[in-house]
């Protein structure tokens, strides 16, 4: 304490710090990161490559889920590059880490658009991160592709949504439950944030319209693992069994299913339908705890068609035999292809107005099934499936639509948005993102 930080010491430690940092700089830049410094001010497609941004959380809470989506996007980019690229140019991915922090997402989105001059951005997982970057993309007139199932009630000109809208996941699964378990009460369980609360509002409105009965609703703080009070309440509310509709997220899911089994609430009397448990999550929770429970998605790894076979094989070859594919990964994979098709049709990657117009109507033979199409409301048509967890942690598909279901982003069961629709080909309307349907 008494001796000051002398000049000699300063030089010594300075040298040490400098030497170390130079070394780190020289040896850093791991071989697997695709990020590379870019010359200032060059438009995305002017050089040898077309630059695209990938913006997901690679650290923090959401890294668990988002890392695998990045893997799927990079697989698609690699495949496209091997097949000759887009418009004769190779795609170069600039990967940014949103760090599970919403302001960081907005900041990185700005960086990708202004500094890296990317042609488009693939990214986000949580609705909160999407809502955080939305103003950035709208104010800069740029383009985001979003791969995750979400609560709907949004329709932006600057976002293409390749995950399910509520009418492609939640609503059909509730219909299916009503039919399979006639007269059984529903208990709604969710994490305490925007998606479960909106989803449950929709479910309640839907059940009221169709004669179902909700006996309880509960929210657990995001990441909370103490579910004892919740489980007792489920038991009290439905002593003779009933349906648990589960929109919990992340760690709470693990705690919920582990303790549900401990309390003796098995899937025979208390079947649960989950909307955020896919193959990856089953693997992390342990199939022992989930066997017999249901999940609603558009894609399962067990879907049987040639496109899926090719996708799963390519994924395992690149990332390892023990990896699994899931719904958001499939949506992420096809959205890269949809963007490529749109760019090729438009003949340019830089004129975003042209690419946007070209994207509408693009159809792809997706792993989830053939004929998946980008609609004029910037959402895609998707197959709806319900799966039951098998012993090996994959899903046995118990219900599937035979053709894609058209997306309805503005929910028709909720009073505030009843009658609203969205059409980005119709430029005569004052606000084409949200207007009253004609004729209803």
């Amino acid at each position: 304490m008494t001796e000051g930080f002398g000049r000699r010491k300063f030089i010594l430690y300075g040298t040490a710090a400098l030497g170390t940092s130079v070394l780190l700089k020289a040896c850093g830049g791991q071989p697997d990161t695709a990020t590379s410094p870019s010359p200032e001010g060059s438009p995305a497609a002017s050089g040898e490559t077309i630059k695209v941004g990938i913006l997901h959380s690679l650290s923090g809470t959401m890294a668990i889920s988002e890392k695998s989506v990045v893997d799927a996007e990079q697989l698609a980019i690699e495949e496209i590059n091997k097949a000759g690229g887009v418009l004769g140019k190779q795609i170069e991915a600039v990967v940014e880490d949103g760090a599970s922090d919403w302001p960081t997402f907005a900041e990185k989105a700005k960086k990708l658009i202004d500094q890296d001059k990317v042609a488009t951005v693939f990214g986000c997982w949580t609705s909160a991160s999407r809502k955080a970057v939305l103003p950035v993309f709208e104010s800069k007139g740029h383009m985001l592709w979003y791969p995750v199932q979400y609560e709907g009630q949004e329709c932006s000109k600057n976002i293409f949504y390749t995950g399910a809208a509520p009418n492609q996941q939640i609503e059909p699964s509730v219909d299916w439950l009503l039919e399979q378990y006639k007269g059984q009460p529903f208990y709604l369980v969710g994490s305490d944030y925007v998606f479960p609360r909106t989803a449950n509002t929709i479910i309640k409105a839907q059940l009221e319209a169709k004669g179902g009965k909700v006996v309880g609703e509960d929210y657990i703080p995001l990441g909370g693992t103490e579910v004892t009070p919740l489980i007792s309440k489920i038991k009290t509310a439905m002593p003779n069994g009933g349906i648990i509709y589960n929109s919990l997220n992340g760690d709470s899911n693990v705690a919920f299913f582990k303790q549900l089994q401990g309390a003796g609430l098995g899937p025979d009397k208390y079947p649960s339908m989950s909307v955020s448990i896919a193959e990856e999550e089953v693997k992390a929770i342990g199939p022992e705890y989930l066997k017999g429970h249901f999940a609603a998605w558009n894609y399962f790894m067990t879907v049987d068609n040639p496109a899926n076979k090719k996708f799963v094989e390519a994924f395992k070859a690149k990332y390892g035999e023990d990896r699994v594919t899931n719904d958001p990964m499939e949506a992420a994979y096809i959205m890269v292809y949809l963007w490529k098709q749109a760019v090729e049709k438009a003949g340019t990657a830089d004129d975003l107005e042209k690419v946007r117009a070209a994207a509408i109507g693009q159809t792809i033979d997706a792993p989830e099934g053939p004929g998946v199409t980008m609609e004029s409301n910037h959402h895609i048509s998707k197959y709806v499936r319900i799966g039951k967890v098998r012993e090996d942690g994959l899903f046995e598909i118990v219900y599937a639509t035979d053709k894609p279901v058209k997306p309805v982003p503005w929910n028709q069961f909720v009073a505030e948005t009843k009658g609203y629709t969205c059409d980005w080909t119709n430029t005569t309307e004052a606000n084409p993102g949200k207007f009253k349907m004609t004729g209803t």
Partner: protein
């Protein structure tokens, strides 16, 4: 009504015992030593990861019953939890020891710096389990070996004091360079085999043995066996710690140092050793807690963060420096959380309409937490030092 009360008490105690088990290590580290250890949750996480490793190790064993009696087949796998508990204690105690010797001992009596430093450590530990792979481990070991080895060798020289600065300036980049080059060479030679993370960012699958997954039926109610196991483990840990502090000679020394550090030092108690030991035991208990809560919750890099606030809450409400305070506080918080969150109170108060409505509003898991926190804030206004404040003039550490 009667079964309702029993139900409430059992569930309250089971929530409380999870809280207590998680807070026990902190009650020692924070309560007795006054160290605000923000990395406590991450030590729990390391305990949980140790459990996963032990589980995976046991899965490799031949799947043959070691003991058969009619339909009852006992597998070696069924007992991995006990091995995991011991391993978790040893591993986290080791990490705690390194942490105390390497970081915390320089910061005694500076709570703000300790808080920041341990928070940094918690971030490092989280990222470590995400990205740990063979390259990283080999690089780290090599670096430590070269750097600290050379430092130890040089420190034997007579003119060490003069050399010290220059030695660090040369050795640090040199050994870091060698470690990094070796690491990247290894990575390029063996590719995925050494660069693939051991755990990665996703949650780990931890499936408890069958006897810990089900429950004991009791009428139309089922007592979850994982909960019973945790209650038993908590009682065992509390008794063990109590015995250790009250009956053993090291326990006596720990209590002496807690009460008056300088006087203890004067009387020949090795306070540095006592500090290290206390911190190691506190960390080890965190590991045991991590192993236990993995039966109920997830095992992932963020596991620790789910518990850190609750554990501090227990210790602060209980009163810093008193184990019995933590016990009472954990049980009180557990029972209140359950009664409010499950809507039991609202049910009891059903005849009085406005009160029942009030409690129904708080009868969801997240609102119950709001209410418990509000009660704690109000309580601390009345008794700032907690339930069982330490009396006397020696409290200021």
């Amino acid at each position: 009504m009667f079964t309702g009360i029993l139900d409430g008490i059992f569930n309250g105690i089971s929530i409380g015992s999870v809280l207590l088990l998680a807070a026990l290590g902190l009650a020692i580290v924070f309560g007795l030593m006054g160290v605000i250890n923000m990395a406590h949750g991450e030590l729990m996480m390391l305990g949980a990861y140790t459990t996963v490793v032990v589980q995976n190790g046991f899965e490799l064993l031949p799947n043959k019953p070691v003991f058969s009696f009619y339909t009852v087949n006992i597998h070696l796998f069924d007992f991995y939890m006990f091995v995991a508990l011991i391993m978790a204690f040893l591993v986290t105690a080791g990490v705690g020891l390194v942490l105390e010797r390497g970081v915390i001992r320089y910061l005694y009596g500076r709570p703000l710096e300790t808080l920041l430093a341990t928070w940094g450590v918690s971030l490092i530990l989280q990222q470590l389990v995400r990205s740990v792979n063979w390259v990283l481990v080999i690089g780290l070991v090599l670096f430590c070996f070269l750097f600290f080895g050379a430092m130890t060798l040089l420190s034997r020289r007579a003119d060490w004091d003069r050399l010290r600065g220059w030695a660090i300036a040369i050795l640090l980049p040199l050994s870091a360079g060698i470690a990094i080059v070796t690491g990247s060479l290894l990575g390029q030679t063996y590719k995925l085999a050494v660069t693939q993370p051991w755990f990665g960012a996703r949650n780990q699958d931890l499936t408890a043995p069958a006897w810990l997954r089900g429950g004991i039926p009791l009428g139309n109610y089922q007592l979850p066996s994982a909960r019973l196991f945790i209650i038993a483990l908590t009682i065992l840990c509390v008794l063990g710690i109590y015995q250790f502090l009250q009956r053993s000679s090291w326990g006596l020394r720990i209590r002496a140092v807690t009460q008056n550090r300088s006087m203890s030092a004067c009387l020949g108690i090795p306070t540095q050793k006592v500090d290290a030991l206390t911190f190691a035991i506190g960390s080890g208990l965190a590991g045991v807690a991590g192993c236990a809560v993995s039966l109920l919750g997830s095992v992932g890099p963020n596991t620790g963060q789910n518990y850190i606030v609750d554990t501090f809450m227990v210790v602060v409400v209980g009163g810093v420096g008193k184990l019995v305070g933590s016990i009472v506080a954990a049980m009180a918080i557990g029972i209140t959380t359950y009664l409010v969150g499950s809507g039991t109170i609202a049910l009891w108060l059903a005849p009085i309409k406005p009160l029942a409505d009030f409690f129904t509003f708080f009868a969801t898991s997240s609102m119950a937490k709001v209410m418990v926190f509000a009660l704690i804030v109000a309580f601390l206004q009345v008794r700032p030092a907690g339930l069982f404040p330490q009396k006397g003039r020696t409290v200021d550490a």
